[in-house]
Amino acid sequence: MPTKMPQVREYMTPTPHTIASETPLKEVQELMRQNRVRHLPVKKGEALVGIISDRSVKSALGSTGENVLTAEDIMIPDPFSVSPQTNLDEVVAAMAEEKYGCALIRDDDGKLVGIFTTVDACRALRQVLETFYPDRN
């Protein structure tokens, strides 16, 4: 039976929440809490410019002058990105090796079309386990 490796687009979260680069950190924190996410891609206008994690927000909120900090101040520029057609094993390999919390999924024009996080990876693993072990208890 012919087989293929799944592509990351099958397991990504499509059209993820994003934030504007000038968003104040307190607002970033609230957006993460409301949407129950730990990563937010950062946009400047229409351009994707970085990624921000809840870890960065937590550590920055305790700093002096945190009231003036914005997403752009603490984001990671040039985040790990792949195309939707990238094989799932390549994406998770990079995430495991580099301890990335997520991968941004961008189409050929560089437009953000999805995000793949460790939670999505757990869901992917769950699905393949069900495929290979359908009678598990």
Binding site: T3, P6, S59, T64, A96, C122, R126, L129
Partner: protein, 151 residues
């Protein structure tokens, strides 16, 4: 189905409640780990994540300064545990349901014997020969004149 025993990390770094939070965080950074079980007399009593530590820290001149306190002030005591015989599927379910990224593994004596994290699950997903079966590009159709004959 494979069990946690096959994928867990056996050499587990742990801390105690009375350890200094600064030293615990420095160790976590040095070892590049994000979660560490908190143990009392061999039994897991909490979990400390770098996220928990950051709630007790601030940034000064670009560097993270952790408050001088003990691990017990920062740890989470509501810990989800599993056993070595827990299936990987159940471990994944637990992590998804409870929105957590690690599970300390305890034996029947409640002693810490390992830890399994989302990084371990990423490696499992990477290393296995997972393949999705493709449907055949054509379908067989039995001719009507053969209907009723033994296969």
């Amino acid at each position: 189905m494979e069990t946690v025993n096959a994928e867990m990390t056996r050499r587990v770094v742990f801390v105690t409640e009375d350890d200094d939070l600064v030293q615990a965080y420095d160790s976590m950074r040095a070892l590049e780990i994000q979660h560490v079980p908190v143990v009392r007399e061999g039994k897991v009593v909490g979990i400390l994540s770098d996220r928990d530590v950051l709630l007790h820290a601030h940034k000064r001149r670009g560097r993270i300064k952790v408050r001088t306190t003990k691990v017990r002030e920062a740890m989470v005591t509501d810990v989800v545990l599993c056993s070595p015989t827990t299936s990987i599927g159940s471990a994944v379910d637990l992590m998804l349901e409870r929105r957590i990224h690690c599970l300390p593994v305890i034996d029947k004596n409640q002693s810490l014997v390992g830890i399994i994290t989302t990084t371990d699950l990423l490696r499992l997903l990477r290393d296995r020969e997972w393949r999705v079966e493709l449907p055949l590009p054509f379908q067989f159709e039995k001719p009507s004149f053969l209907m009723g004959l033994a296969a």
